[in-house]
Symmetry: C2
Subunit: 151 residues, 2 copies
Amino acid sequence: MAKVTANQGLTERLQAALKERGQRWTDQRQIIVDVLAASDGHATGAELVERVRQDDPSATPSTVYRTLDLLEELGLARHHHGPDGRETYHLEETTEHGHLHCRGCGAEQELDAAAAAPILRAITGATGFSADLDHLSLQGLCAACRADQKG
Amino acid sequence: MAKVTANQGLTERLQAALKERGQRWTDQRQIIVDVLAASDGHATGAELVERVRQDDPSATPSTVYRTLDLLEELGLARHHHGPDGRETYHLEETTEHGHLHCRGCGAEQELDAAAAAPILRAITGATGFSADLDHLSLQGLCAACRADQKG
DNA sequence: ATGCTTATTGCAACGTGTTGCGATAGACTT
DNA sequence: AAGTCTATCGCAACACGTTGCAATAAGCAT
């Protein structure tokens, strides 16, 4: 049985977008999109490289990273930097969201658009900046850790 | 003429803090603190390494980075990650502040504690998190670029 | 099907930062 | 002043990403 890509619609959109720009559809790109979709939460660049190499051992990091850049250009993927500076990628299909890292317990929490709205408003109010939620990556202490510190 | 360190007070504080922890004061550490103080705005790790090597060509990256980590542990320095993930260091003497990067014009703007207060409040209100201002590094569009886009 | 154009790939080298380990050299004791 | 203990240093190797270049192969035209 032929391996059916789990992302028919996505793949088609991608193929169309590439054609329009005179760019090409390749097996590697299919694999990378599949892997990204499969690790739908968040994956670092290195993790994605490794997973892609399980499907196609001939793939190299440069190709994977270049494809990820391309997917971002096309608006299909996003990346942000964790508190340690490493890259984390996710598909744009996931709703736009920010990230919160607790330096106490190490927990990571997502911040959806609704929860972020007052924050973004405060940023615009204080600075005139309209901040990108997808690039919002905060570090601090979560409620539980703050309570612990007081105890 | 002996080279006089420009940071008497800082150096003394540092020496005392190290002694208390059973750690040592070395020429390299003096140089690194001096360099950090001299490039008082913000400098990437690589820039700092290069400047330190001008004063002491025998210094190696590992030493510089390890010292920077130590200075952070002691609360004397801070680093955050720019939008490209590179590290940027500054002395803690500078008042705590966040950073805003405009993806339109590339401008970088500082965010002082007063301006940030309503933002931090909004974050706590929305999430329970108490965010670290020093690690706050936002990307978005500045007021000018937003106006341009509308034009 | 064959050939042409050029986007994509793999490779190799680089840039930034981190880590393990043996050698060096601070700081303290005698 | 000499010796001891161990923090720090330099080195070499590694991890994550990026970039230039020559070889490959995708997509189109014939």
